[in-house]
Structures are given as C-alpha cells and as structure tokens.
Amino acid sequence: MTSKTRVRTARYGSFFAATAAIALVVAGCSSSDDDNGGGGSTGGSTAAGDIDCSQFSSYGDLKGKEVTIYAGVVAPEDQPYVDSFKPFEKCTGVKVNYTADKNFEQQVLVQAEAGNAPDLAIVPQPGLLKQLVATGKAVKAPDSVSQNADKWFGADWKKYGTVDGTFYAAPSGASVKSLVWYSPTQFASAGYEVPTTLDDLKALSDKMVADGNKPWCAGINSGEATGWPITDWVEDFVLRLDGPDVYDQWVAGDVKFTDPKIVSAFDGVGAYLKNSDYVNAGIGDVKSIATTTFQDAGLNIDPVNGDGSCWLHRQASFYAANFDKNANIGPDGDVYAFYLPGKTADDHPVLGAGEFVLAFSDRPEVQALQTFWSTDTWANLKAKASSEDTKGGWISANKGLDEANLVGPIDKLSVQILKDPKTVFRFDGSDQMPAAVGSGSFWKQATNWITGQSTQDTVTKIQAAWPKS
C-alpha cells in the first residue's frame, strides 16, 4: 500500500542520502579487500563492528559479486537497511546496492515485466507479491530461507510469503495496526482508564462526551490512496466482531462485503467515525475526516506540541514517526498507545502488516543475502541500526528479535503485543485482496462512505469491483 511507505517522510534531501549510500558502498567495498574475514576496523557503526564472520562461511566464496535491492523505503529509513547489510558485505565481499523510490509499488511491476527486475525487492504487501509472482519473473525461496522462516517466524507469517503453495519470500519488517494513540498525562489528569474491552472503549468515549470532550480524531486523506485508514478500522472490527475465521474467508473473497457480518463491522466502525458526538476532535465535523491527511490527524493527541484537543486516535505503530521529534512518547509520557481491545479482555486479535523479501534471481550471492536476511542475526542487526539511525521505528515478527535492541517505547509495545501468547495475528486484509478491491474500490467507497454514502451502497459497490474469475 502506497500510503504505508509514504509514512516515512523524507527528512533529509535525497542528495544527502544518495551521497551517504554511495560513501557506505565504497566503505563496504574497500574494507572487504583488506580485512576479509576479520573483525571491523572500518565502518564505525556497531552494526558492522563485532560480527563473527564464521557464520558466513557456508555461503562460499562470493567475493566481488554484487546484489541489487529495490524498495519503497526511502530516506531516512533506508539508512538502517544499508547499515544492516554491512557485516554481510564485509564478510562475504559481496557488494549490496540498495535503491528505493516512493513509486516502488508501480515501478517494481513494470520492471519485473520488462525483464529488468532487481535481484531482491522488499515487497510491503502479499497482494503485490502475488502480482509479482504472476509475472513469472520471481524466483522461489531456496531451502535455506524456507528453513529459517520455519525456525524464526510463525506459520502464519510464512503463509503470507507463499503463493499457490510455493514459498517465495521470507518476512522482513512488521507493524502493529491495532493501536489507539492517547496521552497518558491527559488521561491521568482527567481520571480516564485505558479500556480492556470494546464495550469499555465505547463507555470511555461516551464518558468523554459527557465531560464535554470530543473523543476521537481521524484523517484518511492520502492522495490516490485516500480512504485506507478506514479499511484498517473495518478489518479490526471484522476481527473483533466476527472472529479470525470469518476474517480469513472475507479476505479470500468467500464471505462477501455484502454479508451481514461485514455490514455490521462497517456499522461498528460507523458508530465511532460517523458519530458526530465522537469526531472529529480539534478538526471539525465527520466530513472533515475525508480532507484531513492521515499524517496530521492524530497530532493533537500530544498536549505539548499539539493542543491536546484529541483524546483517542486509532493508527498503526508507524504513526510514532509523525509526532514532533521532541514529543515525550512513553507509558507515562505525553503520547503513547494502547492495544485496541477485543470483545472481551481474553480476546486478543491483532491486525498488522509487514514486508517480504522477494528474489528475482537465484545467483548464489543473491540466495546468500536472502538467507542472511531471514535469520535472527539480521533482524537484531537491523533493529540496532534502526535504533541508532532513526531512534527505532522498525520491528520484526522474527522470534529471535531481542527486545533489548529496541529503543522506541512503541516498538517495545508492538513486539510485546506480537509475542503475547493470547495474540491471534492477522495480516492487513486490503493488502491481500485483489488490487481492484484492496487498492481500489475499498479505499474509494470507504471515502464515499465517510462523506455520506450509506453502508449498503458502499458494500455493494466494493463487492462489484471484486474480479469475477
């Protein structure tokens, strides 16, 4: 989904990033010549520092080879990727070329079909993964990657990287979407408690209204992708009101949008987003949701850098990057998030998303990097690099990820939610549906729904776009 890569707004000029990337490639390149196999004397970053090169010996002699990576993750969040590959470059002598642009989702398809695909692509949606595999240019994952995926990821995560029974891509990053942003300091002074069931959430919202506050703020504007935050809301409510089984059938197209269960989930969302008592805190009326960008929508949660006029904002873990860089984010700070509760306190469904590493070549050096990428070693290196370069903002569903390597409080919270034994994880549904729905009618009709279209018209129109065959 375009929007999700857009979250990572560029803070530095692309020139700087390009220069830095080139400089790093040079560093990786030159160091591999003189201290191949040894500990780090160049580089400086801990990511490249004390790494044991013996684990790379199984990849064979790859010196002087080159691997290209293409992704939608642009500056500044590309830097941790570049850094995380440094030990690999250093020990194997392979040069890793990372390029990214914001049009990745359209461009990678064009490249694959034109026959000049990158060696590896970081694909942010299972739906796009299917499209790329359908071009016939993608290469299935080698056994080493498959074994790593079994070892370090849950079976459900491996399934998202599988197309028609063939395993193609191991997971890389992840994000948790079932979060509600709030302000612990504001809650404490108003005497509000974090809710543990959906009914509690409703009761809390009503209490806020009774206290003369508008509880919720929301914004769905995101260029062509306008409407996607609503699809996340609906997915969360299908998971909560109808359960994960119905959710899976719905995503697969077996339960239709027009099914009463899905309609009731829409109405469940409508009870919040289309309720003029609840929205749109600090921004305006219900319709203002359509014209407010998702980046701006929740900023007033923060009572210091914003005006604190908004109490609750449902948005994924990556929203942390949108708050002021001086914002006090933390369990007792000005800004934090709580898990969007299930129907009961024991229900623990979690909506999330992630990235997958798809190969378009089976050259040994490509498979070597692909294998390294699917290990716990890489996940920890990446987490450390993200902590250093961008103050966190990256997690993985990799079971070997050490929480000590995470600095962001939201990252820690997200990993705790993912690891919770009660958690029933489900991947973002619109990312898995056919593009005509998941990147088309679902967004568009959800936008029309928020500006006044009835639920019945909305579900009928979304369903009509579902491909027939």
């Binding site: 203002s288 007033n300 593009a435 005509a436 088309g440 568009k444 009509a464």
Partner: protein, 326 residues
C-alpha cells in the same frame, strides 16, 4: 562513483546519434544528385521506423489489451467498454471529462481574448501581458499545490480554546472577512470539479491571450482604418473586424486547450487524487492500469481518450490548412 559509467553511456549515445545522422546524411548526399522520391524516403525512413516502434505498435497493443481481461491475457470482447459506460463511478469520470472539455476552452479563450483586446496598444501592455502569462511558466503540479492552499479549508467547528481555527486558505479567509461561512471547496461535488477547472483556466488564459494578441496585432492596419472611417463603434469593430480576422487563431487556441483538458491528469491527481467525484479519464486510466491492476479497463479508457482527441486534432489540422491556403 556512479556517474563515470553514466557519463560514458551518455558519450556513447551522443557518438551513436552522430553516427546515425552521419549515415543518413551520407546516404542522402549520395542519392541527392538523382533527386526525386527515393531521397525523400531515405529522409523519412528513420522517423517511420521510430514512429512505428514508439507509437503505432503500442497503440495497436493497447487496442488489443482493451479487449482483454484485467491481466491483459484473456479475451473478453467489449466487456471493458460496457463497464466504462455502465458503471456509475466510470460515468462520473466521463461526465467530469466532458465538463472539463466544454467549460475550460471557452472560458479560458474568452478571458484571453477580452484581455488581449483590452490591453492592445494600452499603456503598460508588456507588464499587463506578463502578469497573465506568468502562470504558464508554472508546472501543472506546482499550480495545483498553490491552488490547494488557495482552497484550503478548516472547519470552524474544530479547534480548541488554546488553538482556535484559522483559515489558512486565501479564498476561505476572504469569505470569513465578508462574514460568510467558509466552504470546503474540494469536497463538495459537483462544484469541486469546477474549482479544479479554475486552475486550468488560470494557466491557459495566458496562453490564449498570447496567441490571440499576436494575431490581433497581425490584422492589417488598412482594414482597421477603413472600418474606423466607416464609423464603427468599439463593439462592432470587435464583432465584424477583429474576430473574423483572427478566427483561425481562435480555433487553434480552443482546440489546443480542449485537447489538454481531455488529457488532464496532474491537476486532479495532485489536488484530490480523483476522490470526491472529481476523477477524469486520464487519472482513472493510470489508477486502473498501475494501482488496481486492471489493465483491460485501463486500456479501454486510453482508447476512449484517443477516440475523443482524434476529431479535435482533425478539425485543428483542417483549420490550419485552410488558413494556410488563404
């Protein structure tokens, strides 16, 4: 680092280009003495090859894709065209494109024409013309972003005591000064399409003014003086002398603007992303083809756009020929 091979590539391309041109010129020189059609063919051949690779083949391929399903592989007959003309959302797309094509050329040309007549031979003509011509220098995306700020809307019901609502959009601030309610220009359909059209008019009026002003200046002084001697008024002068004399230029301006309106993409994509019932054919084509993976429907939209543009171009060329013949 990366620039060295790129520079080398560029050098190669230039050398190759030079070589090709040299071969063509050499061949042409060889045959020049014999003259006639054969030389002509040698000159035309490279263009013919490039046009067929770059234009004819993709056009035929697009036509074929438009009769295929979403993946572009299975033949489905005219299903895509049926969808364009029956689906309620696609009908809105067509309606908007019609609105763009009907409203923009006439309004922009009228503004440009009136302006050209008014400033003609007036004091400070150059400055006055530069002012209206300036928007032409801005890219469509740049203009769209400027106008997005012009239309920006903050709900007066929002804000808080600490942070009351201020209209940051110029037009809404003007409404507030006039004690009127601010309007969410880009949200309310169908007016929002007209607010987008305003951006195109803002850009194209300068173009119309420049062309028309030049052709007004080209009207022979004798005709104007003769009319004056006959004692025509300002309006009659415009109606019976100026307008007929510049008719070919007006036609060119109208058709050129109409074509750019049929193809309008940047403004819609930048300002609304095609949401809130403002979508047009070109944006819908891009979205269907590249975002929604429905290549058949995308190709059908491209073909429809092509069919709509053709008659205007034919008319334009005929007018040009007619005016050249005179």
């Amino acid at each position: 680092m990366d620039w060295a091979p790129k520079l080398l590539d560029m050098l190669w391309a230039i050398v190759l280009f030079g070589a090709v041109v040299a071969v063509i010129l050499g061949l042409a020189a060889l045959y020049e003495k014999r003259g006639g059609r054969r030389v002509g063919w040698w000159f035309v051949a490279p263009s013919l090859v490039l046009v067929s690779i770059g234009l004819v083949y993709p056009a035929l391929r697009t036509l074929w894709t438009s009769f295929n399903d979403a993946s572009g592989k299975k033949f489905v007959g005219i299903d895509n065209y049926t969808a364009v003309f029956t689906n309620s959302d696609e009908l809105v797309v067509l309606r908007n494109t019609v609105l763009w094509t009907l409203v923009t050329p006439f309004v922009a040309t009228a503004i440009g024409l009136v302006y050209a007549v008014l400033v003609d031979k007036a004091k400070g003509e150059a400055v006055a013309k530069a002012v209206i011509f300036l928007p032409m220098a801005i890219s469509l995306v740049g203009a769209s972003i400027i106008w997005k700020f012009m239309y920006s809307y903050k709900d007066p019901a929002g804000g808080s005591e600490k942070n009351p609502t201020h209209q940051i959009g110029f037009l809404n601030q003007v409404l507030v000064w006039l004690h009127l309610d601010p309007v969410n220009f880009l949200l309310n359909s169908p007016q929002n399409t007209f607010w987008l059209i305003v951006v195109m008019i803002w850009i194209q009026a300068g173009f119309a003014m420049t062309i028309l002003s030049a052709s007004i200046k080209a009207i022979p002084d004798e005709i104007v003086e003769a009319a004056r001697l006959d004692g025509v008024g300002a309006f009659e002068m415009f109606r019976f002398v100026t307008l007929p004399s510049i008719r070919p230029a007006v036609v060119v301006v109208l058709t050129t603007i109409a074509i750019s309106c049929l193809k309008v993409f940047d403004i819609v994509r930048t300002m609304t992303g095609g949401n809130f019932n403002t979508n047009v054919i070109a944006n819908e084509f891009y979205s269907q083809t590249f975002s929604q993976d429905n290549r058949g429907l995308g190709a059908a939209l491209a073909v429809i756009l092509f069919i709509l543009v053709v008659p205007i171009i034919v008319y334009n060329v005929r007018q040009l020929r007619a005016s050249e013949a005179r």
